[in-house]
């Protein structure tokens, strides 16, 4: 709980630190790109750039939600499971609809209907997280850990443990299509990022999110309705995980029951590398995007260079650690 940033007179310091944090991730990304392109001439090509962008778009969606949650000094461990469940629900509704044999009722779903249902379920699960955290004072770590298991269980129940595949044409556009020369997933994640930046920088809700993470007690005393805002944040995180789930499902033309396992860790890594403090109140969406890009470039580069899979895990862990060490050093010298 050190370094509580005063809202008014510390504004300039805060701005300065933001620039610094953003700058530092950018430098890291630049060095990484130069290093990889020196070692492989296949890295800095147009198709590979689109590859990396498309691959990270799912992580970006989840990480944006995670950033909002972490800014309130919370955490959401359930995003990977929620992603799997929402992808599976969209796929299942699209392919099989709902049959209620007792009433001899069949409900078919259009593409839009199935997607909206998936998004709604994601938002509902997020809302439930927020509700458990605010109403019953369950620590976010525990509440979302429980949801991680619950949502995975529901995914298994819904799919019966088997993938739901061949979802028909039209649906694959979300994951594999192109629009104005840019892959559709990149559009989606771009819109999510833009909306989140506006939310955090330009709206009262965004300022409250920072305020809650900075000092929850002070925020409460100044009349901010903490519970409502926390619920909104977890709901957003759930809905964004659902978007990620629909994109993954569309890309693969298949909803895998084991999709999204450990995605929460990738998202947390992106948030942390991007310079958002896990104790809340400090960080930015743009930083997280850079964090996600760094992870994506690393994943891509290590494969391009055919680095042994054993070493890849060591390198990725090392990068996360290094990023946080540099970040800590910077906050101290602020």
């Amino acid at each position: 709980m050190e370094a509580i940033i005063p809202v008014k007179n510390g504004q300039s310091v805060k701005k300065y630190s933001h620039v610094l944090v953003r700058f530092q991730s950018l430098i890291a990304l630049f060095i990484l790109c130069v290093a990889i392109s020196l070692l492989s001439d296949k890295f800095l090509t147009v198709t590979n750039t689109w590859n990396v962008m498309r691959q990270i778009s799912v992580n970006i969606c989840i990480s944006v939600g995670m950033t909002l949650v972490v800014l309130t000094a919370g955490i959401d461990l359930s995003v990977g499971s929620v992603l799997a469940l929402c992808g599976a629900i969209t796929a299942g509704l699209l392919k099989n609809g709902i049959e209620i044999p007792s009433n001899n009722l069949f409900i078919g779903f259009t593409l839009l209907g199935a997607i909206v249902a998936g998004l709604l379920i994601g938002a509902l699960l997020g809302l439930f997280n927020g509700w458990a955290i605010t109403r019953w004072k369950v620590p976010p770590f525990v509440a979302t850990l429980a949801m991680l298991t619950i949502a995975r269980g529901f995914t298994m129940l819904w799919t019966g443990g088997y993938p739901i595949s061949s979802l028909g044409s039209g649906f694959d556009y979300i994951g594999t299509g192109w629009l104005l020369g840019i892959p559709v997933p990149v559009w989606i994640s771009g819109i999510v990022v833009a909306a989140a930046i506006v939310l955090t920088k330009k709206t009262r809700l965004g300022r409250y999110v920072y305020a809650i993470g900075g000092n929850e007690q002070a925020a409460k005393l100044s009349g901010i309705r903490i519970n409502k805002i926390k619920m909104a944040v977890y709901t957003t995180a759930g809905a964004l995980a659902a978007i990620g789930g629909i994109m993954v499902t569309s890309r693969l033309d298949s909803a895998q029951p084991n999709a999204g396992i450990t995605y929460e860790l990738d998202a947390i890594a992106a948030v942390v590398i991007g310079g958002t403090s896990l104790s809340g109140g400090r960080g930015s969406i743009l930083g997280t995007v850079l964090g996600a890009v760094i992870i994506g470039v690393l994943n891509n580069g290590l494969v391009l260079l055919n680095v042994s899979p054993f070493w890849q895990q060591v390198v990725k862990g090392g990068v996360i650690l290094l990023a946080v060490i540099i970040d800590k050093a910077n906050t101290k010298t602020e």
Binding site: T45, N48, N51, G161, Y162, S166, P257, N258, N306
Partner: protein
Amino acid sequence: MNIQKRFLPSLFLWVLPVLFCLSACRNNPAAGKPKRMAVVVSTLNNPWFVFLAEKAAAKAKELGYETKIFDSQNNTALETDHFENALASGYQAILFNPTDAEGSVVNVQKAKDAGVPVFCMDREVNSTDAATSQILSDSYAGCVALGKYFVEKMNKQGTYVELLGLVGDNNTWNRSKGFHSVVDYYSGLKMVAQQSADFDRNKGMEVLESILQAHPDINAVFCGNDAMAMGAYQALVAAGKADKVKIFGFDGAPEVIESIRDGKIVATAMQFPEVMANTAATSADEYLKGKRDFPKKLPVAVELVNKEDINDYSAYGKKE
């Protein structure tokens, strides 16, 4: 605070009787000594193992046993708990798919000491006498056959990529070694990249997308399971190279069988989970009826499936 104070004690008051009731429900049928078999499976997070467990349970049920499936979630410690619970609640036999060849030995031994026979399915435990019988999928031999077909289809030359499964998994290396035991003899066949995609469809696609950047002209991809093969196929379609690159999988999953028929994937190695599950359940039944001589190891062949003989096969097995 207030809410918690009122809520917690009342929660306990409600939950405790329910728990008593549950254990009572569990004990009652055991008193009447029905015949019961436990199915302990390494994971239900993978369709192949779901199929194996369901088939084993179905066969046992057909033979007149009550069954329950225990999911070890790839965790040997959890598996130990399942064994203890199964032994304590009076299961007479265990149909077992181990999480780990070494780590699972103690569990099997514990069951043997308690006089409960254990029949291993698909994966083995490294002990010659703990399990009553081990009905095993011969991954290595299956990949030798696949490797031979690979060499033939490639005309002994070309470049290829190998997608490995989870690098900490025995099966990953059994399959890889079987494949390389053949293919490495041909100097015309060059492996340009060997990367792990964790047996996962999404990772398979993403890893191959990246590899295709470094090696756009590969001729083939060998995948350690069918999920990765489907992912690889999707990456190749997106790159417009699906018709130029030959894909080889392993498992015999439903979609890959369809894909081989359509010529999208060249071949896979068919395992027979249903055969293994049925053999295990039938053997356990025979054991409980008095039979004692079982082969310690019963290998179940892994067969090559390609377009020529695809009509003999369906998902996870032969056509009936």
